[in-house]
């Protein structure tokens, strides 16, 4: 099965990318234990920033962006990670998902995650990312992972699990959804019969 991670980190190296990698590793390991092999593709939106802006202007994706959008919409599961910018997901992250057909992620298992300088922004996952994917009718796993700078150098305490435990829990949740997802080829293109569309409109 295919797992795609979208990372909206802008710096190189990026802690957002780091978190994306940790999460995909966790999903892969969990699925490996269940006997599934997973192909992982990590997409860095930074390289697509100009293409994303051009798509916003012209209405169609340049070739390299079209390939990435196809990869995201065709994945069995998605890990979406953004840095927190000005109290929400980054503009590039949102712009990328603005370009995806609103129906294309319906039913897709998604793990959401974010990075930031301080843990005070962690609810961004619940008030910004989760509603975004809920709108897209994706299935978002209950555990969303937030990594503040301090998380990269600390463990858990009496009240909170440390980052590795949260990553494992979230990865396990996504792995469970992926394992349960039947090898469903997805819905065929369906042209409603014109006779039916016409008759639906008739008053009679």
């Amino acid at each position: 099965m295919k797992l795609v991670a979208v990372s909206a980190g802008l710096s190189v190296p990026s802690s957002t990318r780091l978190l994306a990698d940790r999460l995909t590793d966790a999903v892969r390991d969990d699925l490996a234990d269940r006997g599934h092999t997973v192909e992982v593709d990590v997409i860095e939106l930074r390289a697509l920033a100009v293409a994303v802006a051009n798509n916003l202007v012209t209405g169609f994706p340049p070739p390299q962006l079209a390939t990435v959008i196809e990869s995201v919409t065709g994945a069995d599961g998605l890990v979406a990670v953004t840095p927190v910018f000005t109290a929400s997901y980054s503009g590039l992250f949102k712009s990328f998902f603005d370009l995806i057909d609103p129906e294309a992620l319906t039913g897709k298992p998604v793990l959401i995650a974010a990075t930031g300088g301080t843990a005070r922004h962690s609810l961004v996952l619940e008030h910004a990312l989760r509603p975004l994917f809920t709108y897209l009718r994706a299935v978002v796993v209950p555990t969303a992972v937030y990594a503040a700078s301090e998380d990269w150098g600390s463990g858990g305490d009496a009240y909170t699990q440390g980052l590795p435990a949260r990553i494992r829990r979230a990865g396990g949740e996504l792995a469970t959804l992926l394992a349960a997802r039947a090898a469903d080829p997805g819905p065929e293109d369906d042209i409603t019969s014109f006779e039916k569309q016409l008759s639906d409109l008739r008053v009679d």
Partner: protein, 365 residues
């Protein structure tokens, strides 16, 4: 195969001078463009329909009627007539009237319109866009074919014992093209009725156009109108030419960079790679246009957008001269060469009249 010009009718400042034409200048410019199209032996002139600034053509049949009086051969069409927000009864009347005045040199391209507020301004709901398209055309189709229509639908006042006048010229309704960029439902509608399908591909990559045209062709055959190759397809194109391709690029770049639709976005080079836009020599325009056939099959109508991005009228007329003198004669010859037997020409009033007087063929619809 038919070649022509289609105009959006936008009033756009010339970015090189900062000057914006007046509405009167722009309207007269559109007429001058149509007359030039006839002069250089193009087949079709089509005008857009808009109901908001910065666009002028809100009343296409008025403009086309005026052009009809000043031309002899040109087929007058639209790009597009809004089937969603216009009353289908008025469309039936207006275009039948135009048909009589223009001695049959009329067809019509129907489209949904993508300007949100136009729907409520005309008392409609954009969320019903597809349903309006389907119901309104079903009524229009009957109004042109049945002398007395009784009708009840969801979106307009019922009609009892209504006759749309004047009746279509010689009993032959104007040929209808269904224009769409993204809606498979519209390709299906065109296929269902055996009408034409125009894909306005000018801002879209080839693979998208290919998918839409293939869908229409497949469904055309499914509905029993002929083989997929016999379906009636039209495409757009937009070009800027100079004898020397570097001169074309240099002159057009400021227009491209500031164009209302794609300006301030991708580079001219990327956009010409990815879409039908061609900026270069007449030979490059010929090559690019001939390549459309590779993904759309043999098709019937090629319309060029020439008055784009705020180009001054003088330049546009020079462009149409080059199109008519250097490009289209070669395209006619080359397109005819690879054309499979049985692929029809673009329908005209004469061809439809001839077909109507043939013994009726049984078609499964």
């Amino acid at each position: 195969m038919q070649f022509g010009i289609f105009s959006v009718g936008d009033v756009t400042p010339d970015p090189t001078t900062g000057r914006t034409p007046t509405e009167r200048e722009r309207i007269k410019a559109m007429v001058a463009i149509a007359l030039k199209a006839e002069e250089v032996a193009l087949d079709v002139f089509a005008t857009g329909e808009h109901h908001n600034p910065p666009f002028v053509p809100s009343s296409p049949t008025t403009m086309l009627g005026y052009i009809a009086a000043r031309t002899e051969k040109l087929v007058l069409s639209t790009s597009t007539t809004l089937i969603t927000t216009n009353d289908p009864v008025k469309i039936a009347e207006d275009f039948a009237m135009l048909q009589h005045l223009a001695d049959g040199r009329v067809d019509v391209m129907l489209g949904r319109g993508n300007t949100g507020p136009v729907y409520p301004w005309f008392g409609q709901d954009i969320r019903q866009g597809i349903n309006l398209t389907i119901e309104n055309y079903a009524l229009l189709h009957r109004l042109w074919r049945e002398d007395v229509v009784n009708w009840e639908g969801k979106f307009r006042t019922p009609l009892q014992g209504f006759t749309s006048t004047p009746r279509p010229l010689d009993g032959v309704p104007p040929f209808v093209w269904h224009g769409s960029i993204r809606s498979p439902e519209v390709a299906e509608q065109a296929a269902f009725y055996g009408d034409g399908f125009f894909h306005n591909n000018i801002f879209w990559p080839a693979d998208h156009t290919k998918r839409m045209v293939e869908l229409y062709r497949t469904r055309y055959a499914h509905h029993g109108h002929g083989t997929p190759e016999q379906a009636i397809v039209g495409l757009g194109g937009q070009v800027f030419m100079r004898k020397n391709s570097q001169d074309a690029v240099r002159e057009f770049r400021p227009y491209f960079d500031n164009a209302p639709v794609y300006g301030h976005g991708p580079s001219l080079e990327d956009f010409t790679d990815q879409t039908p836009l061609t900026v270069g020599s007449p030979q490059q325009v010929i090559e690019k246009t001939l390549s459309f056939r590779e993904y759309a099959g043999n098709y019937q109508r090629q319309l060029f957008l020439m008055d784009h991005a705020g180009l001054p009228l003088k330049t546009v007329l020079e462009q149409i001269d080059m199109l008519g003198e250097e490009v289209v004669p070669v395209l006619r010859e080359e397109f005819a060469k690879g054309r499979a037997a049985g692929v029809p020409d673009g329908p005209t009033h004469e061809s439809l009249l001839a077909a109507a007087s043939e013994p009726e063929k049984v078609t499964a619809t």
